[in-house]
């Protein structure tokens, strides 16, 4: 019960008290002492196990949030405004995304969406209502996005993961900026634009956005208003329904200074691949930032490259090799048990990509926990082991 030096100190006592809650409440601050002390009594349960029965937002084990508003953006997209629960850090960077878990038919589904709201800096005048927002576009095959756009009621409790991602706007922003977006790829850029606007730091920003029709443009009115307030912000809309896909070759004629700009691009994978190539060809890759939302459905197949996140190893496997065998073949210390899918000893979390259950063909994805002995890679994937 003392400090490491063997003596008896306040800090030692505090550490001892906090210990039981340390693993679950990194964000607790002074509250951790109380949580730790209560955990000594409620062991093996944690105070959370009781607290979240009273209010799900009080959970310290995981971030929670409550949907407070669902705002339609276009026919097939909506903005969800969420009030995060205890311990959410509002000091994220514009452009980052959050993980969000929604309960549908008894099962939590986990997805990542870009934040569209600017960070909530604690400087005076910027303290907002401690709300965050994401924009979701319904995908034809996207079971969860459709549910979020047209079916989720206000008041729903969701699970949240802390903001993350390297697709961010630096502070202060570069003098000349180019945003290249298409479809829902506009969402992280929206967060950047709103942050620039709130900080009154809109530099020379050029935004080229592609959408099928004018009705499909998310945040159209807001972009116009932003331009009216800040002449240095120019928004160009490219309607693919009328003019076809935007040709990168036209950049030179339409925006001759594009090579001088720091570029952030977000949209479908095919578009990003093209942009990647084009920027490399002109030797400007160092000024390009790209955000890939997720692996395209077409990339989900049989087998792929499995990356073992913690041990930093990778291996190529076919669609019939179990992830357990794949890991063991490259010397990763995989947890294992019965090797037949009954004992749950080998369960690990999928960090990204897709994994298939060999017994019934069910697909698992980012955020799911899978039994490695009966799962195989369905495309490239990363495991948390």
């Amino acid at each position: 019960m003392g400090s490491k030096r063997g003596g008896f100190s306040v800090r030692g006592v505090r550490e001892w008290l906090e210990a039981p809650a340390a693993s679950v409440a990194e964000r607790g601050g002074r509250l951790n002492v109380l949580r730790g002390a209560v955990a000594r009594v409620t062991t093996p349960l944690l105070p959370d196990d009781y607290l979240h029965l009273a209010n799900p937002l009080w959970s310290a084990r995981e971030l929670r949030g409550r949907i407070v508003e669902v705002r339609k953006e276009t026919a097939d997209s909506a903005t969800l405004v969420i009030k995060p629960g205890w311990g959410f850090d509002f000091k994220y960077q514009p452009g980052q995304y959050i993980g969000i878990g929604i309960l549908v038919d008894g099962r939590w589904h986990w997805r990542s969406y870009s934040l569209t709201c600017p960070p909530n800096w604690t400087e005076p005048g910027h303290g907002g209502k401690r709300l965050i927002s994401i924009a979701v576009k319904a995908m034809p095959e996207g079971f969860l996005s459709s549910h979020l756009v047209s079916g989720v009621p206000v008041g729903t409790v969701v699970r949240l993961a802390a903001p993350q991602g390297g697709f961010v706007l630096p502070y202060p922003p570069p003098e000349k900026v180019l945003f290249l977006t298409a479809g829902s790829g506009i969402t992280p850029v929206m967060s950047m634009l709103r942050a620039m606007d709130r900080r009154e730091l809109v530099t020379d920003v050029l935004h080229l956005h592609s959408a099928r029709t004018a009705d499909d443009v998310m945040f159209g009115a807001e972009l116009r208003a932003l331009h009216d307030r800040n002449p240095s912000f120019r928004s160009h809309l490219h309607l693919t329904g009328e003019h076809g896909k935007f040709a990168l070759a036209d950049l030179d004629s339409k925006f001759p200074d594009w090579r001088e700009r720091h570029t952030w691009a977000c949209g479908p994978a095919a578009m990003l691949d093209e942009i990647d190539d084009h920027w490399r060809d002109v030797g400007r890759s160092d000024r390009l930032h790209v955000e890939r939302f997720e692996i395209e459905r077409s990339a989900v197949g049989e087998g792929g490259t499995v990356t073992f996140g913690k041990s930093g190893r990778t291996t190529e496997v076919d669609g019939a090799t179990s992830l357990l065998e794949a890991g063991e073949s490259v010397g990763v210390r995989m947890p294992f048990g019965c090797r037949m899918g009954i004992c749950q000893t080998c369960v690990v979390t999928v960090n990204s990509g897709y994994v298939r259950d060999l017994r019934n063909g069910d697909e698992h994805r980012e955020g799911d926990k899978v039994q490695t002995c009966i799962s195989a890679a369905a495309g490239d994937c990363t495991l948390d082991v």
Partner: protein, 487 residues
């Protein structure tokens, strides 16, 4: 010796077992596909109810200096601990609710209110016990290392203590499980047994100290003047939970009819044979909805062993389908009342405390374990035609797989039944023979006795004659001697 060949024992062909496996797979698939909001609500409500009972119990115990408050608190806490242990801890750790993808109700993170750490139990129980169910030398849940639960295991003098060991295990069940899991964990993790500060040892020490501190120190201390009463209540609640958990486990694994297997059977075992082993190796007990809930639905032990990771609230419907399969394949479905199943286990515990020479049956044909050799040497009723199966060691005996009269499959259940009838008949005949032999012997003895008596009589007669002759001779000689003296 226990079952070495499950095919022969089950009276099924490899193809039969394969289709049985497919039918069980389709049960699994249909339950997996229909898991949803209803099931999620069930487990959430169970958890909320358990937390509520526990909080209420702990709260009432603050007034435990009052006798009624003490009793109420103890009952509430006991019920809470039982639910926590059986329906929540056991089933969540089996991954039955992992499909919900909820980090708070997940096998990888659930910690239970028992002395041993969940993580060690998960390896020992989910892996060792559920993979190698009832395989001698592999499944260390067979007697938990301190009891002889089958006569396949050699008797040692220590087994005379079995009745005592049983009592000790029942009352301190959580400690028995904790130590048992720790030793398996160390074995699986290849930890040197003498290394005191090994990871398994440290996890174990941390968990038990927390558990002990909570129930026997912190909570009693929190109730201040009621320290002693709260301590007693906590100890009693733990005891009640231990006894109940022990009873449920023993009823699921040790009544007659729960078969044991050898390593030979394990070699090259197909997944369908694995299913069959689980079916034949487990036993159910009959329970209504309330008792089923309190047992963590382990009254459906057979279904649990077939599908350890399917949600427990679905076991009743799965049970109906498994029973249909048992009827179809003519396989036994071992079940009975809680009392009956426990008494059968209890009988085995006490019987096997004795050395084998006091036991009548062999390991091939005993109530607690049998093997395919049980059927060898028994001439089963046979009808010469049809698709038949020959049993090893009984070349002349044919087993008719379809009953020509009813058209029903004839499998293990019929075989067990007929073996029972045949054995009973054999025993009756032997008894009859014995009785006749005894009668003949008695008759012979009587006869010999008679002869002896006659011989004795004859001898006596002869002796009498000789005596008489002697006497006559003496009378004849008497005057001569007399005269000579007188004269």
């Amino acid at each position: 010796m226990a079952i070495t060949d499950i095919k022969t024992f089950a009276h099924l062909t490899a193809a039969d077992i394969e289709t049985l496996g497919q039918e069980l797979d389709s049960i699994r698939r249909s339950v997996e596909l229909s898991r949803g909001a209803r099931d999620a609500r069930y487990i959430r409500r169970s958890i909320a109810a358990q937390r509520g009972l526990e909080v209420a119990g702990r709260a009432v115990l603050f007034g435990s200096r009052n006798r009624w408050a003490w009793l109420t608190g103890t009952v509430l806490l006991s019920v809470a601990k039982i639910i926590e242990n059986m329906e929540l801890g056991h089933n969540v750790s089996h991954g039955q609710w992992d499909w919900m993808n909820d980090p708070e109700i997940h096998s990888s993170s659930w910690e239970w209110d028992m002395t041993g750490p969940s993580s060690q139990w998960r390896r020992a129980h989910n892996y060792s016990h559920h993979t190698y169910t009832n395989v001698l030398g592999k499944d260390e849940d067979l007697g938990f290392g301190i009891m002889r639960m089958t006569r396949d295991e050699q008797w040692k003098p220590i087994h005379l203590m079995q009745p005592l060991a049983n009592l000790l295990l029942a009352t301190t069940f959580e400690w028995g499980i904790a130590l048992h899991d720790l030793s398996i964990e160390k074995e699986l993790a290849d930890t040197p047994p003498r290394e005191l500060m090994s990871q398994p040892n440290r996890d174990f020490a941390r968990k038990i100290s927390r558990q002990v501190a909570k129930d026997f120190l912190i909570y009693p201390a929190l109730t201040g003047p009621a320290f002693k009463q709260t301590l007693k209540a906590n100890a009693l609640a733990n005891l009640v939970r231990n006894l109940w958990a022990y009873a449920v486990i023993f009823c699921g694994h040790f009544p007659d009819g729960a078969e044991k297997f050898t390593i030979e059977q394990l070699e090259n075992e197909t997944s369908a044979e694995w299913y069959l082993r689980q079916m034949l190796g487990s036993a159910n007990f009959k329970a209504g909805p309330a008792m089923a809930f309190m047992s963590g639905n382990l009254c459906y032990q057979i279904e649990h062993h077939l599908f350890p990771d399917l949600p427990s609230n679905r076991y009743p419907e799965i049970a109906a389908r498994v029973r249909e399969l048992c009827d179809k394949y003519d396989l036994p479905y071992t079940t009975g009342s809680l009392g009956k199943q426990y008494l059968l286990a209890f009988r085995t515990i006490h019987k096997l405390a004795l050395p084998d020479r006091f036991l009548k049956a062999t390991a091939d044909n005993a109530p607690e374990t049998s093997s395919e050799r049980k059927f060898a040497g028994i001439t089963l009723p046979s009808i010469g035609t049809g698709w038949d199966l020959t049993l090893p060691g009984a070349e002349s005996t044919h087993w008719l797989r379809i009953d020509p009269e009813t058209g029903k499959r004839r499998g293990l259940r019929s075989a067990l039944h007929e073996a029972k009838v045949v054995l009973k008949e054999k025993a009756r005949q032997e008894k009859e023979l014995l009785r006749e032999a005894k009668a003949a012997l008695r008759e012979k003895a009587k006869h010999e006795q008679e002869m002896l008596r006659e011989a004795t009589l004859a001898l006596q007669e002869r002796a009498r004659h000789e005596q008489a002759a002697l006497r006559r001779k003496a009378v004849r000689d008497k005057p001569f001697r007399f005269g000579r003296r007188r004269r």
